[in-house]
Assembly symmetry: C2
């Protein structure tokens, strides 16, 4: 076999304000062989997620921020090319935090084998992976949704949001989605069975529009977005409402701390709760949740869509599109083919 070349993107500098391509530096280097206990993997699918913007900052968060010069963080579905770890053999497909590169040498212990068929392996990064689990635990454990409640989902056409609305429906709730185009809202209602969806860009008074779709108010607001969409939603919460704070993509590129209507008084008046979480808080229960998510998929009750960009070279451009709502469903980079 000819020498393998690793293509990777590293952090050139912490972006200030809206991230652009100057934050990313492209590098090529020969692939190194694995050492004892390590595995060489070839990246097949790279997941692009809004949370990565938060890591590209020196600010304190629940994980260590990326350092300048480091490979951009990211989770992949990868194929084992060469194994010096007893748990893996050539051809295995695994989940790994390889970052944005085409090959990676990883400790075998950092890999997790995937049981999905190769044609569906990418689902392990979407509806049957972190985004699906985020929707699942966010709704059931943080939001504590109950049958008959009205669940509003922002960023509803994204990987997490689209799963969240469908899970709300499966659990007997009324699911209303907010998304950024008519094409997306049509997919949510006609494709995924949301009870209703609204294109926030088409309404000068979003609260008014939401009010019409949620005549009984909002019991659970599953928020991926923040900003004006959240302002409108919070204005409509019911007594004992739960605001599940899953993402705040409207603010990830903010240069200054964003300001807006204060919400503590709304929480007080409504005896409501707003709570942030990360899916890894529920890691011990991932397996059981995945069984349920997979069952819902096989029953046709949980559907997904993928937006695929070809080639690791295009990862930065694709990532920037996340902040413009360019993707519908899960955004993936197809990095290489299974050998």
């Amino acid at each position: 076999m000819s020498e393998r070349i690793n293509k990777r993107w590293r952090l050139a500098a912490y972006p200030e304000g809206m991230v652009d391509e100057s934050a990313f530096q492209y590098m090529e280097a020969p692939v190194l062989p694995p050492q004892e206990g390590q595995v060489l993997v070839k990246v097949i699918w790279l997941s692009l997620d809004p949370y990565m913007r938060g890591r590209m900052s020196p600010m304190k968060s629940y994980v260590e921020p990326m350092k300048v010069g480091q490979t951009i963080t990211g989770q992949s579905v990868a194929e084992v090319i060469e194994s010096r770890h007893p748990g893996f053999q050539k051809g295995d497909l695994a989940l790994a935090f390889t970052g944005w590169q085409s090959y990676a040498v990883m400790a075998g212990d950092e890999l997790e084998k995937i049981a999905l068929r190769p044609a569906k392996a990418s689902y392990a990064l979407g509806v049957l992976g972190m985004p699906g689990l985020t929707a699942y635990f966010g709704l059931l454990e943080v939001g504590k949704i109950k049958e008959g409640e009205t669940v509003l989902v922002s960023g509803a056409a994204g990987a997490v949001g689209s799963a969240a609305g469908q899970i709300a429906r499966i659990k007997g709730c009324k699911a209303i989605g907010v998304a950024g185009s008519d094409e997306k809202t049509e997919w949510l209602t006609k494709g995924l069975g949301f009870d209703a969806a609204v294109n926030y860009k088409a309404h000068a008074d979003l609260r008014e529009a939401l009010s019409g779709l949620c005549p009984n108010g909002i019991d659970v607001y599953f928020d991926n977005v923040g900003g004006a969409v959240s302002d409108a939603a919070i204005g409509l919460i019911n007594q004992k409402a739960r605001i599940v704070v899953c993402g705040q993509i409207a603010h990830y590129n903010a240069k200054n701390p964003p300001r807006g209507p204060r919400i503590l008084a709304s929480l007080l008046i409504n005896r409501a709760r707003a709570e942030g979480f990360i899916v890894y808080d529920f890691q011990s229960r991932f397996k059981a949740a995945l069984v349920e998510l997979q069952r819902w998929m096989s029953e046709g009750r949980l559907k997904t869509k993928e937006t695929v960009v070809e080639g690791i070279e295009n990862a930065p451009k694709a990532f920037l599109g996340l902040f413009e709502g360019a993707n519908t469903g899960k955004l993936l980079v197809k990095v290489g083919d299974i050998e």
Copy 2:
């Protein structure tokens, strides 16, 4: 006995923005006799609380707003003067929502007998009443404080705040108070045993000041205030922090929806929770909680202070003082003497 005259204050008009005396209308009328099942009570102590401002508004809340012309809402310690209810006899002391007046005819079922000695009966409106219970359930049930945690209390020299800090200490937490004068902060630390207290008016950079007092960050923020104090506090919350939203006195007189730094991203990054509540959510457990609060008082671990204004005529003026921080501890109107 000479004819008894009822002095009362009713809502003249919904105040817009900062409430002033024009919102209150003074009335006198002869006291009417009780009917079958009713009790005539004489108000001894009237409780003045910030929440009343919220009721003086046509806005939706967790209770019905006051109507123009109605007696201003308020809880009292009152003495039974004449009873036509089998559960009460002349001379009994009872808690009652009499409103701002010197006498009231109430259904006996609306009264709750007080077991405290007459000299301590006013505690039933403070540390051994709604404010004490609010502190208790807010910290233990909403805040879920754990030994060793840092608990920051805003409005710490008020009736609820002063109890909250002491209960936090009793439960093995570090209690830090924020109040509006050096006299108050001295009372909190030297009088009540708070670990530290800060006069927010004396610091241009409150976050900096709080940061020095909370070197390990804030685990539970018990908020009575909102506004800039909350902004500073929320900037210092720890992973898995709880923000107990008990009051937002800084905003009760706001004419327009107040704006400030957005907090959902802070909740997300810190996997933190902000939750509003009212004490009546825990009504079934009041008795047991009062036993515990009373025990702490008798052990000298829970202290209180009362600011007493003489005469129902002065109730509006005293009430307005709440929004200027005029009171230390529980604000009461001494309306009449026990007969």
